[in-house]
């Protein structure tokens, strides 16, 4: 065994030597044979001839020895070299197939890179398979964030959860070190870090006793912030930093490789951009008394660790049971319940459908590419019929030839896959640049070992598809039969049928891809047609955070905002300026249950729920929001209890009545009851998302609900940025210490809100275009082949007076027939896919007639176009020459 292995290994290393020695050995044999015959009295020439008579046998001997000597590596290597030689002899075939496969495999590698990071890779935390997200649900509102009191009870009573942590969003202003800066931050339960297995690179995480209001003067910072703002100071532990005007002790620096999800991906409902990011600062949750109300303040992200052996479903069933004991009223009236899902599911929930769709589409493109290459390689096999027949006659076994065909498929796929990985690296880079920021875990997407392994698998599969189709075709014809000229017509008929079938499959796959793309495109078009309820042209915004202690008083915040607006109004080039605290399409604004005057009170979540936005007098003009009834705000409203409500609110709350003059208030009643009077009705604004209905909205003067953040909105006469500098100077001159965000155009906010759809449409359209191009190539190949096979017949037809038009129709039919067959299969399949992807559509039915007929029309047109050149060639056939050639 060992000897044999060594001998074989030596054979591998010194393959050239072995071959040469074998040649020498056999040459020697030939010489001896000749010499012996001469010695027996045969004439030298005759002896040589007899010895050479065994030449056929000689080849067989060489093969026999090779077979004895060969390891599988040897024979595979020989087949591979043979395949590569074949490709080099046929550069046109090689370049078309390799390019096709490289593009398709590259696109797969790139999309898999994104999909893997988002959908498949475990979260980079300890016990990632046991981490779950807990959300609460209410019948009418769907998923809502978690209430702190409920979570406290779950923690006390749950038998299925080992540990529960809450996360609250709380952007903090950092002051005292250089420019003031507003930092994404999180309030977290001390349990969070041990639960996720996060160990700080410096210092420690929070202690349980620091989770109490008043003892929570500690902070953890991210590696990025530590390097950016503190110069990676190794003595940072114990330093005091000022956050929102409060001094906190730095107790730890989190690790550099921490891939904590952005809070938007953990939160049950959309968050504004300013709150959504990955936290840079972490402070103890230290819940406040008001956050323990059982019926309000559904504000928190809840991450939990299952006890080993329990499933999310079991935990959900248990928490649902507990919920009835904690908040019996709400579980009755609101159907309040819980929803427990793997944490990863929550993180990707917003993107899973889209990414899956892209992943599916790119798979379809690869299938089409593989089928196309298989079809081309079958054409090539037909051309090599003579060669294969010759080999077969010379004693190559059928298995051997089949192996050659299979190997060639794998080699083509392998080379294509190699090129594809290179393209994939470039493609992934391009897609990361194009992808909207809200695709989860994008920073983890890269061409890594997993992607390479996936690509290898895909490449092998592709190679097998190509090889098996080729080998099947080869064996169905049979090498011997192929060599016989008499069967030429039947062979080419079978060949043509097979390739037409393959092209029909391509058309079907392409139709699925096109319908999906078309539906998304139509959805996007519908979305762009939505009247958002405000004008974005020449509107710029900037956020200012008034979270400092100096602005603890709402009145002071109101004064600051009014002073800024008074001066901004005088800047030349600014047509209108206003302030609000929540911009539309930038997260979901705070929601309040309204208590309507003169109506019996009901539980919070049963009241009419409205988004509350503050508005300065100029806001409606600056944002182009129509006033439908009554009036807007005037400067004298600043401290009056008045409101402008949206049409939806007016129609829902005071249906059939005139809302103007009606009064309401926000619950719960704390302090003296202050009713708010409706003075105006404004047009609806699709502020949650363009594809969601406009929510009920209540605008109040800034001072009435004085939020600590404010967005200034101003409409300019031109696109100039001069006004931005002027606004910045005004804010700075009034208070140099308040952090300002970069200026954003309102249109950018709208675009960002649609970025994910735009990305899907763009990528899918690219895939669909690729699919169509591949189908056209495939059809062209089939029609060309059909024309070349029927040249003689066409010549006869032309000779006996067939009109060129009839011939052209005949040729085009070769392209149309597989196209029609493909559509007959593809369109129903596409409709199934369309129903599955319904959640991605907007205002378009899955069985959208326009899309389906458009796709069918496009594919039919493409198939006629692909037949055009071959048809012209067919009509140009000169009967006399074509007939003589045969």
């Amino acid at each position: 065994m060992l000897v044999s292995l060594i001998a074989r290994l030596r054979g591998l290393v010194t393959r050239r030597n072995v071959e040469r020695e074998l040649d020498e050995e056999l040459a020697f044999h030939l010489e001896q044979e000749t010499a012996a015959s001469v010695a027996r009295g045969m004439a030298p020439d005759e002896a040589r001839r007899v010895a050479l008579g065994t030449l056929g046998g000689l080849t067989q001997t060489v093969e026999g020895v090779r077979d004895v000597r060969a390891t599988w590596v040897d024979s595979v290597w020989r087949d591979v070299r043979f395949a590569v030689r074949g490709l080099r002899r046929d550069p046109a075939y090689a370049s078309v197939t390799l390019l096709t496969l490289a593009v398709a495999i590259g696109a797969n590698a790139a999309i898999f890179g994104i999909a893997d990071a988002a959908l498949f890779k475990p979260l980079p935390f300890e016990h990632a398979d046991r981490l779950v997200a807990v959300r609460e649900t209410a019948e009418e509102h769907g998923l809502i964030p978690v209430n702190a009191m409920h979570a406290r009870e779950w923690r006390r009573l749950s038998q299925t959860l080992e540990s529960i942590a809450l996360i609250g969003t709380a952007p903090l202003n950092l002051t005292g070190v250089g420019d003031p800066e507003r930092l994404p931050a999180a309030r977290v339960s001390p349990e969070l870090f041990p639960m996720l297995g996060i160990r700080p690179q410096l210092g420690r995480t929070f202690r349980e006793d620091e989770n109490v209001h008043g003892q929570d003067g500690v902070v953890l910072i991210s590696d990025g912030l530590w390097r950016r703002r503190f110069g990676a100071d190794p003595d940072i532990i114990g330093r005091t930093v000022t956050l929102n005007g409060t001094a906190r002790n730095v107790v730890g620096v989190l690790p550099a490789d921490l891939e904590f999800p952005s809070l938007a991906h953990l939160y049950a409902i959309p968050l504004p951009a300013g709150l959504a990011e990955r936290p840079e600062v972490w402070i103890p949750l230290a819940p406040m008394e008001m956050e323990f109300r059982p019926d309000g303040a559904f504000n928190f992200i809840c991450v939990a660790l299952l006890k080993p052996g329990f499933t999310p479903e079991q935990a959900e069933a248990e928490l649902d049971g507990l919920e009835a004991g904690i908040a019996p009223e709400l579980t009755q009236t609101l159907k309040l319940a819980t929803s427990v899902v793997p944490l990863r599911t929550q993180v990707v929930s917003g993107s899973a459908a889209g990414i899956t769709l892209l992943f599916g589409a790119v798979g379809v493109v690869l299938l089409i590419a593989a089928v196309n290459v298989a079809s081309l390689s079958i054409a090539r096999l037909s051309a090599r019929r003579q060669e294969l027949a010759m080999k077969s006659a010379l004693g190559a076994s059928h298995a051997r030839l089949t192996r050659e065909v299979l190997t060639e498929g794998l080699v083509v796929a392998g080379l294509g896959g190699g090129l594809g990985v290179l393209l994939g690296v470039a493609g992934l880079r391009a897609m990361l640049a194009l992808a909207p920021g809200d695709v989860p875990r994008l920073s983890e997407a890269q061409i890594d070992g997993r992607v390479l392994l996936f690509t290898l698998g895909v490449t092998m599969l592709t190679g097998l598809v190509i090889g098996v189709l080729g080998a099947w075709r080869f064996s169905s014809v049979g090498a011997r039969e192929a060599a016989a000229t008499g069967t030429r017509t039947t062979a080419s008929g079978a060949h043509l049928r097979l390739r037409a079938g393959l092209v029909a499959a391509e058309v079907a796959l392409c139709a699925v891809c096109l319908v999906a793309c078309g539906l998304l495109l139509r959805s996007f078009g519908q979305l762009l047609d939505v009247n958002l309820g405000f004008e974005t042209a020449r509107v710029t915004t900037v956020d200012v955070a008034l979270t400092d202690d100096r602005y603890a008083d709402a009145g002071d915040r109101g004064v600051f905002v009014q002073r800024v607006l008074d001066r901004v109004g005088t800047v030349p080039g600014i047509e209108a300026a206003g302030a609000t605290h929540f911009l539309p399409l930038d997260g979901i604004a705070g929601t309040s249950g309204l208590i309507v005057e003169g109506r019996p009170d009901v539980p919070t979540l049963d009241r009419p729920l409205a988004r509350v936005r503050s508005a300065s007098p100029g806001l409606f003009a600056a944002m182009g929001i129509d006033l439908r009834k009554g009036r807007g705000f005037s400067p004298s409203d600043a401290d009056r209890a008045v409101a402008v409500i949206s049409e939806a609110a007016a129609n829902t709350i005071w249906a059939g009545e005139d809302a103007i003059g009606k009064r309401f208030r926000f619950g719960p009643a704390a302090g003296p009851v202050r009713w708010i009077e409706v003075v105006g009705v404004a047009g609806d604004v699709h502020s949650d998302a363009a594809d969601l209905p406009a929510p009920l909205t209540v605008y109040v003067p800034y001072a009435l609900e004085a939020f600590p953040t404010v967005s200034f909105v101003f409409r300019t006469q031109d696109e100039g940025t001069k006004t931005q500098a002027a606004v910045r100077d005004i804010v700075r001159s009034i208070d140099p210490d308040v952090p300002m965000s970069p200026f954003r155009r309102l249109q950018t906010i709208v675009d960002d809100a649609m970025a994910q759809r735009r990305f899907h449409v763009l990528v899918l359209a690219t895939f669909a275009a690729t699919a169509v191009a591949l189908v056209v190539i495939g059809l062209y190949g089939v029609v060309s082949y059909a024309v070349s096979q029927r040249t003689r017949e066409i010549a006869v037809r032309l000779a006996i007076g067939a009109a060129p038009g009839a011939v052209r129709r005949m040729v085009v039919w070769h392209a149309l027939r597989p196209t029609l067959l493909g559509l007959a299969i593809g369109v129903p399949a596409a409709l199934v896919v369309a129903v599955v992807m319904r959640s991605l559509l907007f205002e378009v039915m899955p069985y959208d007639l326009m899309t389906v007929s458009g796709v069918a029309g496009l594919l039919l047109a493409a198939s006629v176009a692909s037949a055009w050149l071959p048809a012209r060639r067919a009509c140009a056939v000169e009967p006399s020459r074509a007939l003589r050639a045969e």
């Binding site: 020498e24 044999h29 046998g57 001997t61 026999g64 004895v68």
Partner: protein, 108 residues
């Protein structure tokens, strides 16, 4: 007398036996086989050389490239101790087999 279709395995046995007479090259071995069998047995190149290479891979023979009498390079095969052991073992079982064959055929 079968000229080409030697029973599977018998060729290996014959080659090892010939090599016990001394190292030899492929042509010489084939020649010896013809002579020793009284022209009764003939191994074609197509089966001779693969068999020799197979024996080498199995470790029953060794080969070296050497300059022959007329200064051509030839591969010379030598039987190894393992080859001798195999020859002995298989010779016994072959004789057993031949005896059994003769008994059956002889009683016919």
């Amino acid at each position: 007398v079968p000229k080409n279709d030697l029973l599977q395995g018998t060729l290996d046995l014959l080659l090892l036996r010939i090599l016990t007479l001394g190292p030899n090259h492929g042509w010489g071995i084939g020649n010896r086989l013809r002579q020793m069998s009284g022209e009764g047995l003939n191994a074609s190149q197509g089966s001779l050389y693969p068999a020799l290479h197979r024996l080498e891979l199995r470790g029953d023979v060794r080969s070296t490239m050497q300059a022959s009498e007329n200064n051509r390079k030839a591969r010379i095969y030598t039987i190894t101790p393992a080859g001798r052991r195999r020859l002995q073992a298989e010779q016994k079982s072959w004789e057993q087999f031949a005896l059994s064959m003769r008994r059956v055929l002889g009683s016919d």
